[in-house]
Amino acid sequence: MYRYDEFDHAFVAERVAQFRDQIERRISGELSEDEFKPLRLMNGLYLQLHAYMLRVAIPYGTLSSTQMRKLAHIARTYDRGYGHFTTRQNIQYNWPKLAEVPDILDELAEVEMHAIQTSGNCIRNTTADPLAGVAADEIEDPRAYAEIIRQWSTLHPEFSFLPRKFKIAVTGAPNDRAVTRGHDIGLRMHRNIKGEPGFEVMVGGGQGRTPILAKTIRGFLPVDHLLSYLEAILRVYNQLGRRDNIYKARLKIMAEDLGAEALAKLVEAEWEQIRHYTLDLPLEERQRIAAYFAPPAYDDLSADHPALDEAIAADESFAAWVESNVYDHKKPGYAIATISLKPHGGIPGDASAEQMDAVAGLAEQFGFGEIRISHKQNLILPDVRRADLYRLWQALGGLGLDTANAGRVSDIIACPGLDYCNLANARSIPIAQRISERFTNIKREREIGEVSLNISGCINACAHHHVANIGILGVDKKGTEYYQVTLGGAANEDAAIGTIIGPAFDEWQIADAIETIVDVYQQLRNSDENFIDTYQRLGPQPFKEKLYASDQARKAG
């Protein structure tokens, strides 16, 4: 993992002191709320329905056990004993007091964390494949580049007051686990024919009320040029992005208006002018950062573990957990384990301080003291010996963290919704709870197989409902919550935007509607198909027919 040096430490300490001063000036009345709001947002501090909310960055989704214990400590000391892990590799605290926020930030700085640019119209926390560095399918480890982007984008003098928020995601694997095409800039690593690593640069993706998938404007950018190319994109956007209408201010709208080709031309022309400047990091600095991500001291282990196979054969619950929650590791004898934060009937993404502490301990016991955060709002232990999987699973059971549903229908992404959020039109969490309670039978979930179900409480789409196989959007109709369903979205390398299936359902119908959709799929699927395969083969019609059959009958009658 990256470790701060004296410069990183000094910088974050200065940022905390600056924000402490800004808060003091707000409390003293020197700053008005209008002046303070953009300043607090640039440090991740919102004012929500009940209280302030502090969003803390977990850069590219990587946490140490020490950091996780600090997050638990903050939840206990300054908040109400829990935190909410988000789709953008952040953790949110729902009840911090304004006057105590600088103390929270001081505590975070002690463990090399911060809340810099987790909101505001600036370059947000850079996200990455949560399996970076360990996934069996990886071409190149993107973490060093994500860290380079983190440093470059931190309080960037030119790009801190952009037309709108700006999100960058990086992956080094062909299987996209970072929703790269849902970002303003998606970077996907490839190797050229000489074997050198580089980036495919995709721009203009985003969700919200106008979901658009990013388009490739450069097939291969040598890694040496990463920062100058990013700077070129940002400079074009900062100058030409719309500032007259908040809904048209994202890069995606500019990319649509201009067309990807014209935008690419502008970017390339700007890049030509700056690519020979000193911006790009010298090789030695890149190597310095990359050294932090050197593989830990793995043992040479056998890939075969008869004891594990026996445990899988003997214990159906464990077998289910291994099937859904364990991924292949690039190192033989090791595995990657997902810790689901989606207990049936629970709050997606929430973890208590006790759970955080316990996971920190498990990461040390069954790994190298490292934890990952996924955009699915789950935790991941990246370096578990296959031989330890059974013991890990048993330990998780005692913590309520052993739900065998990663990638299943009850692994629901949900935003905080109207229960916490000032922008929401409808509640998300209770809907997620009701739906997941319909699928408590693990056998049934295994049969249903891989499917994504995301619930956003408003059109800002924080829960990525547009790119879910089954997406749910909460809307307000004359004071009543309704839920609109989209089908056919995908967040992976075959990213797609879902389409609305028909009229919305009320809060009491929506769980039934989801069950109906799942039933139709199970009836019509071919043997090995996942939900998305069946949907793509058959289209929306069979789902529509069944969902709205009673409406049809009523009309006919």
């Binding site: 200065e14 056990s65 470059w152 030119e158 790009f159 801190s160 007051f161 911006l279 050197a294």
Partner: protein, 183 residues
């Protein structure tokens, strides 16, 4: 309006006017800042007056539009219509880095303390302020940060550069940095 230039409260010698109906009337005013649109309409007439000239660029007006004339201006004023509108940061950097502009770059409009360091880094060296009180407090922001990550027109050594120096002095191989997580 109070003006800070190169870190000090100074008297503003520049005159600004929106009235360009009679270009000849500008002459007695002395050094004058003209908006880009006026410059493009009346360039030769304004040049004929012979007084010192400054230019004002609105947000979104790229310095490229007037690249060959930049040397004629002693000051270029860039507007922050709102402090949240960050287009002037790009304009300032382009003036300094692309066009090699050496004159004064002045921030006008909503110029607040918490944006001062960004402005300084992007090449602004003077700031037109709303009140004299603001002039006293705004300069405190200059020392908020000792070092920054990105190269910028302020020419300060960046953190990556300073790291290289530290590394050279210590003669330490980079791989030694991969410390374990222990406190």
């Amino acid at each position: 309006m109070p003006l800070i230039k190169h870190g000090k409260l100074v008297e503003d010698i520049w005159h600004e006017t929106d009235d360009f109906t009679d270009v000849q009337a500008l002459a007695p005013l002395g050094p004058v800042i003209v908006p880009l649109d006026v410059w493009r309409q009346h360039r030769d007439e304004i040049l004929a007056i012979g007084c010192a000239l400054g230019l004002r660029l609105a947000p979104g007006q790229t310095p490229d539009l007037v690249a060959t004339d930049l040397h004629r201006f002693g000051v270029i004023a860039l507007e922050f219509a709102k402090f949240t509108d960050g287009r002037a940061y790009s304009q300032a950097r382009l003036l300094r880095e692309r066009h090699g502009y050496k004159g004064e770059i002045r921030a006008v409009g909503e110029v607040l303390r918490d944006q001062l360091t960004f402005m300084l880094r992007c090449g602004f060296d003077s700031f037109s302020l709303a009140t004299p009180q603001q002039a006293r407090t705004i300069l405190e922001a200059v020392d908020d940060f000792a070092h920054w990550y990105q190269p910028a027109p302020d020419g300060r050594a960046t953190i990556p550069t300073l790291r290289r120096r530290t590394l050279d002095n210590a003669d330490r191989p980079a791989s030694d940095c991969a410390a374990a997580w222990a406190y």
